[in-house]
């Protein structure tokens, strides 16, 4: 892809792009169609050659593959590898693809069959731990969020197409939240992961007076111990902190640690 787009000032063809979903709610893909005002402009950036949710047919010749969802079944590993083989650039679209997303909440049970038994009883179903794409293939680009923010996807895709380096904010959601002059959730008596979560969503949840749940994963140098301290002094339980840290998988290691320390009551029914 790089180098082909511009030849003596003449714009080269739009890169071919394909969209795929593994285990997901398909919300991230939907987000791409959810901004009707800029939809046609977005569609002019890339040539979509495969998008099962909205089109019949398709081709396996694409430069960019956007993959939504996490890997939760062996056949999905195969599909993912095939996509990787075809694509020059593989993009993990949304928190399920980046971190495992809400799907990885089932990984917290010590008995791996617990989830299947709870839902299907003795009926056999194939499943495994929910995993992010990067556990199986090389990922070139991450687009965070549950769901992804359309404005951000558009900016990233534009950067990609014009050959600009894609950069993610390193600072936390709090910075965006303060710029928006919101009342801090902590002052309203609500917990919020804004201090440790990577920005880029423009403080989507705090703007709506709802605390951040960390769907975009950690900001650079996130001080989680300090956040725990803040939450504790404000009277929030360790369970409330853990609920947020473990929700989307972006804080997997800290959440695993914290889970060991936290009251186990009701938490590991599979134990």
């Amino acid at each position: 892809m790089p180098g082909e787009r511009n030849y003596l000032g003449v714009p080269a063809p739009r890169p071919k792009a394909a969209f795929f979903e593994l285990s997901s709610c398909e919300g991230c893909q939907l987000q791409l169609f959810n901004n009707e005002a800029t939809l046609t402009e977005f569609l002019s950036l890339i040539e979509i050659v495969r998008f099962r949710e909205v089109m019949t047919g398709g081709s396996d010749e694409y430069a960019i593959a956007f993959v939504e969802g996490s890997v939760t079944r062996p056949d999905e590993i195969e599909r993912l590898r095939a996509i990787r083989g075809n694509a020059e650039l593989l993009v993990a679209l949304g928190s399920c693809a980046c971190f495992g997303g809400v799907n990885q909440l089932k990984n917290r049970f010590s008995d791996p069959r617990f989830a299947a038994r709870t839902v299907y009883g003795d009926f056999p179903v194939a499943t495994m731990e929910a995993r992010p794409l990067a556990d199986f293939v090389a990922v070139d680009l991450w687009i965070y969020g549950c769901p992804v923010k359309k404005e951000e996807v558009e900016r990233i895709v534009t950067d990609l197409v014009v050959g600009k380096k894609v950069v993610h904010p390193k600072y936390p959601v709090c910075m965006e939240c303060k710029a928006n002059e919101n009342i801090c959730l902590y002052d309203l008596g609500e917990p919020c992961l804004g201090p440790i979560t990577r920005a880029g969503c423009d403080a989507w949840c705090p703007n709506n007076r709802f605390g951040c749940w960390g769907c975009r994963g950690p900001a650079e140098g996130a001080n989680i111990a300090q956040l725990e301290e803040i939450m504790k002094t404000r009277g929030f339980s360790a369970e409330a902190i853990l609920d947020r840290l473990e929700c989307f998988g972006g804080f997997r290691d800290v959440a695993d640690e914290l889970r060991k320390k936290t009251d186990e009551r009701g938490r590991s029914p599979g134990a």
């Binding site: 979903e21 285990s23 919300g27 089932k106 949840c205 709506n208 709802f210």
Partner: protein
């Protein structure tokens, strides 16, 4: 002519999620006709076990990207019912308004982006941008309106942020509600035009006697909570949802199946409309007439017409709701709830049909058991029986392979299946 065909359609397109259609006819005899669901399960009911009540709506929204608002509302209702909490009138109105806007958004997406290409003979909506720009713009305008309204009331069009147990984290600004009212009035004209377009499509002439399950409306066309009803005469209370859905596992599908008085039943726009036709608003009823949709209609392809009628109904109803909201002083956005041990059920009519969430709580409000019964899961068995009937008719009529595949795909699509959601 005795036909033979072998159709093996893997991962049907223009539907949400993964499903396969298989039809095999040998010298005029149907050997195989099946609808298979191969989606990967995500185990939401297990994920919730051990979690505090406040997690449920936030996590459950992620069962489905298209009806995340419906899941959030069903989840909230189950929690509130479990704790014996009654939301106030303002909250009820705002929730219904939000629900309506999701219905509009979802139905328009389905009708224009997923269904219309079948009637225009294109693979997707993309070619229509060139050939039918006005129609595409109309669809985009309606969808944008509905999405903006969801942002305004729920904080976000997908995985809402303002909707919480006890009410809302914040209320929409009143001048924005007024602005929404203006846009909704303009949408009525757009929906009339959409009606004319769809009335011109030739809907396949297919009929299979079916049992329809939905909420039962007392005074209003029902969307959130209330009694459960089937067109075969079964009536149940909301908390008796299990007797209405009777889910069971089958090797054919990773989604469960459901049955009631017959081998299968249908839920969705057509079921709601068949069961509550007299409660539709005036313009919606007129639109039904234009689309030649009369209760009780047993043609599953007419679910698309029912969706369009519902679009008109929810727009009319949204106008009334906004009038009422603006006529009163805004109250507190949310009230505190007190967790209690017990069981709570929330039944909500989401775009694809009736949805149930059930949670059992311990005394701290921690979830001990969870159950989510998804509309498309309730429809799978009915789709299967429809496919069988369609294959028999196709064999008898001596239809060609491509036509059979086309009609079978359209049939499944007309249910607007949300497969990943049905497997969850």
């Amino acid at each position: 002519m005795k036909i033979s065909c072998d159709i093996n359609l893997r991962h049907l397109t223009r539907v949400e999620g993964h499903g396969n259609i298989r039809i095999r006819i040998e010298s005029g005899a149907v050997r195989e006709a099946s609808w298979e669901v191969v989606e990967t399960p995500r185990f939401f009911e297990a994920m919730l076990v051990g979690k505090k009540w406040e997690n449920a709506p936030w996590i459950c929204a992620r069962i489905c990207g298209i009806c995340s608002i419906g899941h959030t509302l069903a989840s909230i209702r189950a929690v509130e019912n479990g704790f014996g909490f009654e939301p106030d009138t303002q909250t009820n109105r705002l929730r219904l308004l939000l629900k309506h806007m999701e219905t509009l958004q979802s139905h328009i997406l389905h009708l224009y982006f997923l269904v219309a290409p079948d009637f225009f003979g294109t693979g997707s909506i993309l070619p229509l941008v060139e050939t039918h720009p006005e129609e595409v713009q109309r669809a985009a305008r309606l969808k944008l309106l509905a999405n903006d309204a969801c942002d305004l009331i729920g904080g976000r069009r997908l995985h809402p942020t303002r909707t919480v147990v006890g009410g809302f984290t914040m209320l929409p600004a009143r001048d924005e509600l007024r602005h929404l009212h203006h846009r909704l009035r303009a949408a009525i004209t757009d929906l009339h035009r959409a009606g004319e377009l769809f009335a011109g499509f030739s809907i396949p002439d297919f009929r299979r006697e079916t049992e329809f399950v939905s909420l039962h409306g007392e005074k209003e066309y029902p969307f959130i909570g209330g009694d459960l009803k089937s067109s075969d005469g079964v009536r149940r209370k909301e908390w008796e949802y299990k007797e209405m859905s009777n889910e069971y596992c089958t090797p054919q599908s990773t989604a469960k199946w459901a049955r009631l008085s017959r081998a299968s039943f249908a839920v969705g726009a057509l079921a709601r409309l068949n069961n509550n036709f007299s409660l539709l608003h005036e313009r919606a009823r007129k639109l039904a007439e234009l689309l030649q949709l009369e209760p009780v209609c047993h043609n599953p392809f007419m679910n698309n017409a029912a969706q369009l009628v519902e679009c008109m109904h929810v727009v009319e109803d949204a106008l009334l709701l906004i009038d009422r909201l603006l006529a009163e002083k805004p109250g507190e956005p949310r009230r505190k709830v007190r967790p209690a041990a017990g069981r709570g059920v929330g039944a909500v009519e989401v775009p694809r049909g009736i949805l149930y969430h059930m949670y059992e709580f311990d005394e701290d409000g921690r979830i001990v058991r969870a159950d989510c019964v998804i509309p498309t899961a309730q429809n799978h068995a009915n789709i299967q029986h429809d496919i069988e009937a369609l294959a028999r008719e196709a064999a008898a009529a001596g239809m060609g392979d491509r036509d059979i595949e086309h009609f079978a795909s359209m049939l499944v699509r007309s249910y607007d299946p949300c497969i990943s959601c049905s497997v969850h």
